[in-house]
Symmetry: C2
């Protein structure tokens, strides 16, 4: 997988599907402002998003190609994408940072439903000042509705090209994890582990590594949201590492656990229980099942093991242009699995206060059943000495 | 600079200043939702922000300590900060993701002005679904105003501890740039340059590298927002690299230009002009001057050189917990410079169509005049052979 970027036919395919979904949901167009959604429709790739100063807009109309409304500094590069209609203004101008220009574009769109969708709902944020959004609402001649259900319907089911990229970064990170015991030793710190894994991931060809925590603790970890720290790895620890690395814009999101020296029998038993729960979650990920079913498949194994769950609120989720995307494997989320959904299978539990273990794999749902994108974690925890 | 994290006294100092500013601006409290603002008030550091699934909230009251309202998965770690009052709910629950819990907290705050500020304005976005924010507006018993002018007034002027961290990452990245010609060669690609510089930055101790583009072109570059590509470096090229790397949460933001083999006399002349414009911008950065004055100081040199400007809309900006922060050096931005502001000095120009050069240094404004945080770029462009 050497080539980055997509053919125009890929974007045409996405647009055709998007327009079918928008039409069905009574939206004349969708306005997007975030890196992921703009990249999804245009292919525009930039690290410049890191600067919050200038807003960027892309209008995805019910017919025809996307229209970009972007700061002058980015117009030339946006013109190199498949988008033909690129408008720009000399941002930053806090008094009117593209709002009147954007309103003109929206107001000139063909109207059927008198609506436009925007990134207003679940697991989405607007990348523009809210005050400018409220101003925009009064400048345009149609109702702004929540476009996120439509956007997630589009993005939840991946194209073959998207799956190739996720599979590529999953394989690359799997191999990186596999080699970690070769160059990490007892007595080094969590921070050393992150530094070494990060360098290895870059050497193997990861484009970016926005997410790479490490946490360690005797027989398990007390949390999985912070880290690394300067804590030294000691005999009996479990080192938990997790990564969202990217290739050509697409994320993997999976963790691995490492035994530091000799861990307790109890920790080994819990590890095996989670390995089995993962198998059960993978097996349940077939078309027609729901994300709730996948949760039950994992939770049943965990409960039969006689332990309680964790505080993550779910046991897996979608992955793609973002580290985590809908759906969530949790009771009450009845999203039906369909082919080409890429999801994580992520059972976790806290078997004693402050001793948590979490497993994770990435799979794609296919007509022929679940297909692993990661290289399956070994049933026995790899040992770091 | 080995130690990460801040003492409680640092947060107490920030709070005292914040509360003075809030009081002066008639705000009972400020609600913050973004990684940078939450970290500013609590010290909470996590890569978990990369997942957009769960919203996090911190209420900064007019009196007393911050109150955190966070997903259960993060409560334990938030409790390890100096924040005492941590409330949580089992997120994700799309139907009510913390909104009623947050409303209860806000509604129980002492009232003087009957207002609360939020991240609604310039160079800020809300990290929560806009629909939930609109719901919140109807749940709480006071008016939500734009808190961003207050937040930027706080964050624009850094503490000594913040400046130390920015200086540390500036020095580290300066040395990394200086060594690049030792291990990058003609014939390698922009992507190779990024990979090598990234590994070097990690080895030197950068915590993260959210921004590291590379662009190359004969005698200059056509844009500075995208890249790296697989373009091979050729004799006569200028390689432009820019980085926003971080240490303990704080960014540097500065670029460097490298001559690939022998570049044209014209490119060398323009490079020298920008070097002089940078000197002029640095010299103008003294307390009492405005950001507009800094712009004029640089622009005068550029215009005297007989060339036009660039399309960035400004010639520098603030830097701190984010890659770019207010103010902007541009005509019309009359922000008065005061001691402890950290800013970039960033003159750029396009001397021929598609041939752009941009210089950049980071400085802190002090009573005794401007102080460089970066190691000043050499007047003669370093050569890669």
């Amino acid at each position: 997988m050497k080539k980055r970027g997509f053919k125009v036919s890929e974007f045409e395919m996405r647009m055709a599907r998007a327009q079918e979904i928008m039409h069905r949901r009574n939206l004349d167009a969708i306005l997007v402002t975030t890196p992921q959604n703009i990249r999804y429709f245009t292919g525009f790739d930039s690290q410049f998003w890191e600067s919050p100063t200038r807003p960027w807009f892309v209008v995805v109309p019910g017919e025809g190609k996307p229209i970009a409304v972007v700061p002058e500094i980015g117009a030339r590069e946006m013109e190199r994408t498949w988008v033909e209609d690129v408008r720009s203004w000399p941002s930053p101008i806090p008094e009117d940072d593209g709002i009147s220009l954007l309103s003109d574009v929206v107001n000139s769109l063909a109207t059927k439903f008198n609506t436009i969708g925007a990134e207003l709902g679940r697991e989405m944020t607007l990348r523009m000042p809210v005050n400018d959004f409220l101003k925009l609402r009064t400048f345009i001649n149609r109702q702004i509705l929540d476009g996120s259900p439509a956007l997630w319907e589009m993005r939840m089911v991946k194209t073959e090209s998207e799956i190739q990229r996720i599979e590529h970064i999953c394989k690359l990170a799997s191999e990186s994890y596999q080699d970690l015991p070769k160059y990490l030793n007892i007595g080094e710190t969590e921070r050393d582990a992150v530094r070494k894994l990060r360098i290895d991931l870059i050497k193997r060809g990861a484009d970016s590594i926005p997410f790479l925590p490490a946490v360690s603790g005797q027989g398990g970890v007390s949390q999985i949201v912070c880290g690394p720290s300067d804590r030294k790895l000691e005999n009996g620890d479990i080192l938990f590492m997790d990564t969202g690395s990217t290739y050509d814009g697409y994320f993997c999101d999976f963790d691995r656990n490492f035994a530091i020296g000799k861990i307790s029998d109890e920790a080994m038993k819990v590890h095996d229980l989670l390995w089995t729960a993962t198998e059960s979650g993978i097996a349940a990920s077939v078309p027609g099942m729901t994300t709730e079913d996948v949760w039950f498949a994992m939770n049943r194994v965990i409960e039969e093991g006689g332990v309680k769950g964790n505080n993550a609120g779910r046991l897996g989720h979608g992955v793609g242009l973002q580290l985590t995307e809908p759906p969530s494997h949790r009771p009450g989320d009845k999203t039906k699995l369909v082919p080409n959904m890429v999801i994580t299978i992520e059972p976790g539990l806290e078997y004693l206060p402050g001793k948590m273990l979490v497993h994770e794999e990435n799979i794609v749902v296919t007509e022929d059943g679940p297909k692993l994108l990661t290289i399956r974690a070994p049933r026995e925890m790899p040992i770091i000495t």
